[in-house]
């Protein structure tokens, strides 16, 4: 269960980073390639190394240049370079796809996977990779070019989901990624010209195992400023821009051949607050329940999301497999909440709500939430800090509530993430047993039951207040088709994109 997450992964799950825009060039019409513009931040630090990259443009680019063993599709693991997994004793064996070639023409073999695992576990990595907590990368055995056996450090019930959740791209045996170099993958597009923080030109790889891609060329543009991304599409310099702010979406697409697209209900980002159960008053389940009964979720959705979203049910993980959407959030009941606070001896207790703007709207929601608590007579205060200090352990330990956004990731990721941090975790025996079972059991029914139990615990005495599910919007030319959501709608999968 010690599945700690790095900053890189945090950013990935939160969907923060340099924005993405894309231009797509269609088959036979060399003048028009889809140009995709991505959402913003840290563009100049973009990297070809799929284990360093951290911006949406990075992900969008690396995920068309490289392939993963398993991808997430509609919340389920989708076999890509792997075709299946066989469970063994303290290890599992991955069967690899036949007939896959690298962009340089050489065949894809098990040694490449072995190298990838050694690479991500190497001590020179800027941050430890989350898979190193599960896999014994030093003891990997290559059985034959199509078969590899990977020993585990703790039981892994669903290795396919583990790989899919970690988003592990496979790199070629011996690959290094010096600045100014290039990247050789197995993905649907080859990397052409690339300049960090500016553009990457991706050209079609006709020999891709999943069938030749549709567009001749895709240009991925990094634009930090959301208005600049939208302007690029509105003026025809790009065909698609991901992660468009709600304020911009409200003004309309800005052209007859343009449309604002929503990624749909299952791709919504869960926005909420986590209560710190290690200190008063939220060490008492009655105080936790009381605050959940006080919050006006609809007001937050209306004012922070401008209506682009719906209210949440206090559980993170919306859109994931095994998510329990039959659970209802406690009904608003101010009198009942006050009675509960009285019982918990929490009347008049100071409440500090910590927030940083690492997802748009975090600080706004915090201020509104604090107003709601104050209106109910609580001594609440917002503590707005910079992103770099947000996770400073000492300050977190002294905070009562903190903002927390989470994309539609597998429940493994969601629950591991909250457990990785003492002040975010709920120290509950039933929850721990259920999550441990869900992680380790290879039995599908047992896993589903375990997740049901874990979510029942969170609904009953949990420390989450998930007030809203935010839409992910994009602005696009109407003829852009085939943009798929794999991991997050903020950096979609462009491997099947084209112009209709």
């Amino acid at each position: 269960m010690s599945r700690a997450l790095s900053r890189r992964q945090l950013l990935r799950y939160a969907g923060v980073g340099a924005g993405l825009a894309a231009a797509v060039t269609a088959c036979g019409s060399p003048a028009s390639a889809p140009t995709v513009v991505g959402s913003g931040g840290g563009g100049a630090a973009e990297s070809l190394d799929p284990f360093i990259s951290g911006t949406p443009s990075d992900y969008a680019r690396n995920w068309t240049v490289f392939d993963e063993l398993f991808a997430i599709s509609d919340g389920n693991p989708l076999p890509r370079l792997a075709v299946g997994v066989d469970q063994g004793d303290g290890a599992f064996t991955v069967r690899l796809r036949d007939g896959v070639t690298w962009h340089d023409g050489s065949p894809f073999v098990a040694d490449d996977v072995a190298y990838t695992l050694r690479y991500l576990a190497s001590p020179e990595r800027p941050v430890p990779h989350e898979l190193t907590g599960f896999l014994d990368t030093a003891q990997v055995q290559v059985r034959d070019p199509r078969t590899i056996t990977i020993p585990t450090l703790q039981p892994v019930g669903d290795p396919a989901m583990l790989f899919a959740g970690a988003g592990m791209r496979v790199i070629k045996d011996g690959a290094t990624f010096a600045p100014g170099g290039t990247a050789v993958g197995t993905g649907p597009y080859r990397l052409g010209a690339f300049e960090p923080g500016r553009q990457a030109r991706l050209t079609r790889y006709d020999a891709h195992w999943d069938g030749a891609p549709f567009a001749d060329e895709i240009v991925v543009i990094s634009l930090d400023d959301p208005s600049a991304r939208v302007n690029a599409v509105r003026t025809g310099e790009a065909d698609y821009a991901a992660d468009v702010p709600f304020t911009v979406a409200r003004t309309g697409a800005g052209g007859d051949d343009l449309e604002v697209r929503s990624a749909g209900d299952t791709q919504r980002t869960s926005l909420g607050f986590v209560m710190n159960t290690t200190i008063r008053p939220f060490d008492d389940p009655r105080a936790r329940r009381a605050v959940r009964m006080l919050v006006d979720r609809q007001a937050l959705v209306d004012r922070v999301l401008l209506g682009y979203g719906v209210t949440g049910n206090d559980l993170f993980g919306h859109g994931a497999r095994y998510f329990d959407d039959t659970v209802k959030a406690p009904a608003t009941d101010v009198a009942g909440a006050k009675a509960l606070l009285e019982q918990a001896g929490a009347v008049g207790a100071p409440l500090v709500v910590r927030s940083a703007e690492y997802e748009a709207g975090m600080n706004g929601s915090t201020e509104l939430f604090v107003e709601q608590l104050k209106a109910a007579g609580l001594d609440a205060r917002a503590e707005i800090v910079g992103v770099q200090e947000y996770f400073a352990p000492d300050a977190l330990a002294a905070t009562h509530l903190l903002t927390f956004p989470l994309g539609p990731f597998p429940l493994d990721v969601t629950y591991a993430r909250s457990a990785a941090f003492p002040t975010l975790a709920l120290n509950d025996a039933e929850l721990k047993t259920a999550v441990a079972t869900a992680f380790s059991t290879p039995d599908e029914a047992a896993r589903a039951a375990a997740w049901k139990t874990a979510q029942a615990v969170m609904a009953d005495r949990g420390n989450w207040i998930v007030w809203g599910l935010a839409d992910t919007l994009a602005i696009s030319r109407r003829n852009v088709a085939g943009i798929e959501v794999r991991d997050s709608a903020k950096y979609p999968y462009l491997g099947k994109a084209g112009l209709a």
């Binding site: 630090a45 500016r198 553009q199 992103v387 400073a392």
Partner: protein, 322 residues
């Protein structure tokens, strides 16, 4: 004059050393450090300690400063939180920003002089009042607002210029000059307006001065009056205004760059500050600090050279204003 430049350079160098110390130690005192920024949500106490040790953050701040300053002298700017060398991140971006600032300055000199004279030679006239109002407007509006309006009119409305400065990989902004027009125009409107106001005021005061009136009453043609009596009084002031504007443009392009997605230091600086990428922020502050010191030195020397009494006098030059 050589002694003056050498002295100013020595002062500048001392200032930079002081600045570097302030930046390094000051940043160290802020909450959160590179280990925190790197690890984010995975910053458990044990892992923090391990990362601090690996990054050398557990050593005393002055030892780390000496290390960093030594690297700086060798041209090694350190490594970003993301693991990329800082020099690779800054790379051509400093040059791109300098290009933006340089182009703006070059255009600003003739424009501000001509417009300033055109208005100032007839103080109180309708055109003078018009220039005063327009320049006040552009000085008062933040440059990103001006930039946004320019995009609305020229890119989205008229469709004649690009809304974003997309520079293909391997090319520079000069390979796509259209991408430079709106950013330069946005900067020019703000900074030239400031220069126009300063120059106009000096000219307006000069044309009322006794020696100008004397020349005019003596029947000198207006052109000669301007050339012999007005310009010599205005140029030292104008020169100082231009050089100070150039100094303000070092780092002053950041907001405009963001609006246009221009590949300069703006995006890097904003991101470094937002994500706590201290090595990058520190390197940028040093680059910008050095730029300002050089520009101020040039302003100082320029004013001396263009002012006869200062050129020959022994006493130090007046301190630059603004």
């Amino acid at each position: 004059m050589i002694r003056l430049v050498a002295g100013r350079l020595a002062t500048g160098a001392a200032l930079l050393v002081l600045l570097s110390l302030l930046v390094f130690v000051g940043v160290d005192l802020l909450p959160g450090d590179a280990a925190n920024a790197r690890l984010g949500a995975s910053a458990t106490p044990a892992r923090l300690a391990e990362t601090r040790q690996r990054l050398g953050l557990d050593r005393p701040v002055l030892v780390r400063y000496a290390d960093w300053a030594g690297g700086l002298l060798r041209g090694d700017l350190g490594t970003s939180v993301s693991g990329t060398p800082v020099s690779a991140i800054l790379g051509g971006r400093v040059a791109n920003s300098a290009l933006l600032a340089g182009l703006t300055t070059i255009l600003l000199v003739p424009i501000s002089l001509v417009v300033g004279m055109w208005a100032g030679l007839r103080p109180g006239s309708r055109r003078d009042r018009g220039v005063a109002v327009a320049s006040l407007l552009f000085v008062a509006a933040p440059e990103f607002v001006t930039a946004g309006l320019l995009v609305l009119v020229f890119a989205i409305g008229l469709g004649v210029l690009p809304a974003v400065s997309l520079i293909p990989p391997g090319a520079g902004p000069l390979d796509r000059p259209a991408a430079l027009v709106l950013p330069v125009l946005a900067l020019l409107l703000l900074h030239a307006s400031y220069a126009v106001r300063m120059i106009r005021a000096t000219i307006a005061a000069t044309v009322r001065a006794p020696h100008v009136e004397f020349a005019r009453l003596n029947g000198e043609p207006p052109r000669d009056v301007v050339r012999h009596a007005v310009l010599p009084a205005v140029l030292p002031v104008a020169l100082q205004v231009w050089l100070l504007t150039a100094a303000a443009l070092v780092g002053g392009t950041v907001l405009v760059e963001r609006v246009f997605g221009y590949p300069g230091i703006g995006e890097v600086l904003v991101t470094a500050v937002r994500t706590g990428d201290l090595p990058v922020a520190q390197a940028l502050v040093m680059v910008l600090g050095a730029g300002v010191v050089v520009a101020l030195l040039a302003a100082d020397v320029g004013v001396r050279l263009s002012t006869p009494t200062l050129r020959t006098a022994e006493q130090p030059a007046p301190v630059a204003f603004r």
